[in-house]
Amino acid sequence: MISWISRILVPLIISYIVGFGVLSKRPVFDDFLAGAKDGMKTAAELLPVLAGLLTAVGVLRASGLLEAVCSLLSAPAEWLHLPEPLIPLALVRLISNSAATGLALDIFKSYGPDSYLGMAASVMMSSTETVFYCVSIYFGSIHVTKTRYVLPGALIATAAGIGASVFLSKPL
């Protein structure tokens, strides 16, 4: 069932959107090109960000510090039933999307994207958001300082996403 969703979702969304465009009598290929140009620009702008962050994660990994931090966190990881290497990812995910991407790519490199850890990292990145960043831009923009139950709520929802990611990625 899950792999069935995986197989049809992308073709379904693409044909739905293109069909919607054709039915609305839009010049679909012109619209496509306009968007594709933006996408190319986004990818180009990503290059310096990734060069900076992959290097930083590479330094952490090569120096042995990442490993040391992971083994330091092994006790809480075991208690939470989280695999050790996912702990730094889960923590950094709350603060910075691009730094978390760097860590996820490091997991791909060390364990492979199709391994249990690689799957869990991919699903975790896809089902959570940068909690602290979002709260600060949204509430910062309207000068709200009393955030009430937003942080507990957002963190509980994120924990549910992380839990589901780890559970769903377990090899059957």
Partner: protein, 195 residues
């Protein structure tokens, strides 16, 4: 935030490397990782470009507004204190739909607009229930197709990069459902406490 995090990663890594005699490996990894970043971006560029193009078709054909209109009943369920003609309803719906489609660039301005319209009196610095609900659901992640993760997986040699779509959809559903239940419980608790 990233300024601190990044400088910490670089400096702490190098110091740790100096203390543990791994500086050669550190230098090598800097060269390798920077090269990896270029290869990664080249792979990303194609799929990012294609996906943004597809989304732009939907965007220009009015898909977002059309879907946002369909979301009326769901908004009434999530935000019982917003009247039917409240101006914040449209940007909230646009933000949610754009997030689902992975149009982060369209989602954020609509989200900020929604926050402003939910704002109420100036000088009020306390978040309203509607603001809290909106932000918690927003942060619970709504994205249906994690395009960039699929592209990254391809670059690292995944046999089936799109295999994460199903699990990601379910995990996103879990986190969003948790968010909705949490917000509903807080409101329920407030009603009970007031009695």
């Amino acid at each position: 935030m990233l300024n601190y995090l990044w400088s910490f990663m670089i400096l702490a890594g190098i110091m740790w490397g100096a203390a543990n005699n791994t500086l050669d490996a550190v230098t090598q990894s800097i060269v390798d990782s920077a090269g990896d970043a270029v290869k990664l971006c080249l792979t990303m560029a194609g799929i990012m470009s294609f996906w943004c193009g597809i989304l732009e078709i939907g965007n220009r054909a009015g898909l977002i507004e059309w879907l946002a209109e369909k979301m009326g009943p769901m908004l009434s369920f999530l935000f019982p204190d917003l009247e039917k003609d409240h101006p914040a309803r449209l940007p909230i719906a646009v933000n949610m739909v754009a997030n689902m489609l992975g149009l982060g660039m369209a989602a954020t301005p609509a989200g900020l607009e929604a926050m402003k319209l939910l704002g109420g009196e100036p000088g009020q610095n306390r978040a309203s229930d509607a603001m809290c609900t909106f932000l918690i659901i927003n942060i619970s992640s709504l994205q249906l197709v994690p395009v960039s993760m699929i592209a990254y997986r391809t670059q690292y040699g995944s046999g089936n990069p799109a295999a994460i779509l199903g699990p990601a959809l379910i995990a996103t559903g879990c986190s969003t459902l948790t968010a909705v239940i949490f917000c509903k419980l807080v409101r329920l608790w407030k009603v009970v406490a007031e009695k």
